[in-house]
């Protein structure tokens, strides 16, 4: 028998060793594929994890960009040149995201990068994009509190997802008591901070708000679901606002179903559960639970129907679902193409300046516009989970909502705006009329 403690030390060392080794291997592979590229193409970087924890969500986005490039090339490409995708795999490893981004920009000389899912991966690549002056399109709903010159945020800011969802529950379901449940990292924590401030401004008392965090991949939800049940039996209508992310959702919903918490008693509104996530669950016990997004596959518009048809034909899978971050990539990609065609160049500086004001149709019948704060306008939909794993839209905002880079609910950010057109500043304080600059 071996001594135990040496095992553990050895375990941690060797893990690092293998990580570095695999990273090196992948680097080598990627540079091999990059070297073959011809000069008469425009290169588009795709920075999504194809292995590791986030592969479940990000692989689809890689496929989406490949699909969009394919479609664009069929139309003759951009500026008379074909687009060429350069795909790298940051393997759900946050520091590796920065390495891969640097490689895409310096080695492969891409004109633009579409990528990242988690906020921590975006934060990890930010310095690289600033230093090397390139463009990142980020397609996922996030916590806001950011506006960078080199990043275009095509996912929802909190005021385009979380706040309208809470408004819906207050108005339609008359919810008085709130459980804010999330995975323990930056997006849920910031979103819940914003929501807590917003609920309090609407007169909700502190004792009517329960906040709960769980680790990534949490799988034993018995205690928390029982707590929610208990919290919900205080005689006031209760709802759960879920920022639970990734894999942990499946056991969470299974436990809800098994413990008999029905949507008509305690509805759960989720910000990270879409068609893809539901693919792994039997949704019949979840009927009526809600999700807030800017896009649902079930929305019937000619643009959406065509997109779904083409997508399923491209992936050769008639059951392949579509989801919100995919739509964000569609909008972002089309905006970038329009901007490039407008300035007749792929030079990042020119394209960054051209992007604000560019409009591109979204798949739900509206036209989204890039704003000076590098966020876009989007409609907000509340959908109910149906028995077939799809959503039925029960409510939507009357028009498109402009994304706020800085939340109006938080003391630290309510005076800030992002404006890369007039003020050339991502965090301009409207009270003091000063740009805080990159220091903050």
């Amino acid at each position: 028998m071996l001594n135990k403690s040496t095992h553990d030390i050895a375990a941690s060392f060797s893990r690092r060793g293998v990580l570095a080794a695999t990273a090196g291997l992948m680097l080598g592979l990627a540079s091999l594929t990059g070297a073959k590229a011809a000069d008469d193409t425009i290169k588009v970087g795709v920075l999504h994890s194809l292995s590791g924890t986030m592969a479940i969500s990000e692989t689809t986005l890689k496929d989406t960009i490949l699909f969009l490039i394919d479609e664009q090339n069929k139309k003759g490409g951009v500026l008379g040149k074909k687009l060429e995708a350069v795909v790298v795999d940051p393997a759900s490893n946050w520091p590796l995201f920065a390495e891969k981004a640097r490689e895409l920009i310096t080695k492969d000389k891409v004109a633009v990068v579409f990528g990242c899912w988690t906020s921590v991966s975006r934060k990890s690549v930010l310095p690289v994009f600033k230093e090397l002056n390139n463009i990142l399109f980020y397609p996922v709903q996030y916590e806001g509190e950011e506006s960078e010159r080199n990043v275009f945020y095509t996912g929802a800011a909190p005021n385009q997802q979380a706040i309208p969802a809470v408004d819906y529950l207050m108005k339609e379901e008359k919810v008085k008591r709130w459980v804010l449940a999330g995975t323990d990292y930056v997006y849920p924590r910031t979103t819940n901070k914003i929501l807590e401030a917003y609920l309090k401004s609407k007169g909700v008392a502190q004792e009517d708000i329960m906040i709960n965090y769980t680790p990534f991949g949490h799988s034993d939800w018995q205690t928390i679901v029982a707590d929610i049940k208990k919290f919900g039996s205080a005689g006031k209508k209760t709802a759960v606002v879920s920022t639970i992310n990734g894999d942990a959702n499946v056991p969470f919903y299974k436990e809800l179903g098994n413990q008999g918490i029905k949507a008509k008693d305690i509805p759960v509104v989720a910000f990270s559960v879409g068609e893809e996530e539901l693919a792994g669950i039997d949704t019949k016990p979840l009927l009526g639970h809600l999700a807030a997004w800017n896009y649902f596959e079930s929305i019937k518009t000619p643009a959406n129907e065509k997109f779904i048809k083409d997508w399923q034909a491209y992936t050769k899978n008639p059951k392949r679902v579509t989801n919100d971050p995919m739509e964000a990539h569609v909008i972002g990609f089309n905006m970038w193409v329009k901007a490039v065609e407008k300035v007749k160049s792929t030079d990042p500086d020119k394209v960054i300046d051209a992007l604000p004001g560019i409009e591109a149709p979204n798949l739900t019948g509206g036209v989204s516009k890039m704003l000076p704060n590098h966020h876009i306008t989007k409609p907000v939909f509340i959908g109910e989970i149906k028995g077939n794993g799809q959503f039925d839209v029960v409510w939507k905002t009357p028009g498109l909502v402009a994304g706020d880079a800085w939340s109006k609910e938080l003391d630290g950010s309510k005076d800030l705006i992002g404006d890369w057109v007039g003020k050339k500043c991502g965090n301009f304080n409207t009270k003091t009329n000063k740009c805080l600059g990159s220091g903050s």
């Binding site: 769980t214 034993d220 029982a226 008509k264």
Partner: protein
Amino acid sequence: MPAHLSARLCTFVLSLFLIAFALPAFAGPFEDAVAKFANDDYSETEEAIGVVASSGNKLAFPIISALQDGRLMADPESKKVYVTGADGKSIDAATGEPVASVPDSASAVRLNNRLRRSVDAAVGSLTLQSPDLGVRLQAAQSVFKSHEETALEAVDGALAKETNRSVKAALVDARAAILLFKSDATEVEKLEAVATLKARGDQEALALLTGMGDQPASVTKAAASAIGSIQSSLAVWSMVQNAWYGLSLGSVLLLAAIGLAITFGVMGVINMAHGEMVMIGAYTTFVVQEVIRTSYPGLFDYSLLIAVPLAFLVAGAIGVLIERSIIRFLYGRPLETLLATWGLSLVLQQAVRTMFGPTNREVGNPSWMSGAFELGQITITYNRLWILVFTLAVFAILLAMLRYTALGLEMRAVTQNRRMAASMGIATSRVDALTFGLGSGIAGIAGVALSQIDNVSPNLGQSYIIDSFMVVVFGGVGNLWGTLVGAFTLGIANKFLEPVAGAVLGKIAILVLIILFIQKRPRGLFALKGRAVEA
């Protein structure tokens, strides 16, 4: 006489006609209400539910129950509403007349959560006197939940006729809930209602009592004392509940760790690919269910029983293959073993990702593993209960195997003193392969059970590998009983910490406690003693 007869016949026919026409003629509001279903507007649908449910029309129940099941079809153009039956036949909802077919432009009337609640309340008050016992019980429970004044009459009527004890109790509770919220109920009635709810003593009673709003002083006082007594009894129950959750978490930990207790605990191989064996077991379950779904849908409830031996064979075979092709060259070199098995785990993950795709795969729960039952004031879910039973069974079989079979004897002999065993004529390398296969096979079985509560994704195994090592080390390497006690200790400690410290801090606290414990007792809870330790 014939004249007289025909006159009588005439009056009879006339009166028949009158009755036939009178119904629709007087049911104007009913027809209007039914037509509102076709407007696809939630508040109009809600109005319509109210009018239809209280209309007393014999079509009310078919309409409302069709609405509940998504069988109420409305045509937005003609404003006609149809009830489609399970047998494919349809009737016009306003008149009750059969129709040949529902037009294609009609779609099911949509509901949201608010409407589902009013539909439930309506169905409840309409089915209080149903001949089916289960339906009556459910009806009484949904009236209790909605406690609308309009249902009081129906509850009183049903109460007078009800003979079944549990339904009667549910009706009494429902009546109490209604009276508590009825503004013109007498003080005596309300005090009685509070007493009834106090006797019920569960969270729903607590919810009603805390949310009852303004009441006469005596009622408020009685309610306050009822709330106090319910809360203190619930506090005791929550301890029981934590203990149960702890057992359940412990059983999951044990199940995940039990295979590792063989490969790592008994053989001493640091097997980082152990989690992937669990994952392979879960994917085997998925494949089995997929085959059953497409070819033998009737067998679905047996899918897990079929998957258990298959998962054991698949994972076990892969285990033997790994042992023969990699691990046997690395015995006595823990660092290389660790690196090789970790690399192997990445290879297996990526292989599964390529074969089955990166997204989660749906593994369904058979009917006997879905839902929950109430034991006192705690909810016990069937899937957790079965997993606990299953884990203990696997543990017992494994223990018996090691103790009473020839292979078990050989395994113990080889792990305790390889050279001695070899000189006694045991083919040690064959035993090594079989032992590793056994550990992997058991991990595969664990995957079948874990597929019921967790994601079936390529990452499934990763989330269990750390916990598994923790359990085996904590319990004492090389001792199966230690693994059992270790798993349940960690499970229960975790579940008692979680409500106090939260899930994140709770987990950290457990890790810290284990580190401290290992400092004090490096060989775990149940250390092996004697010469085997030095081998």
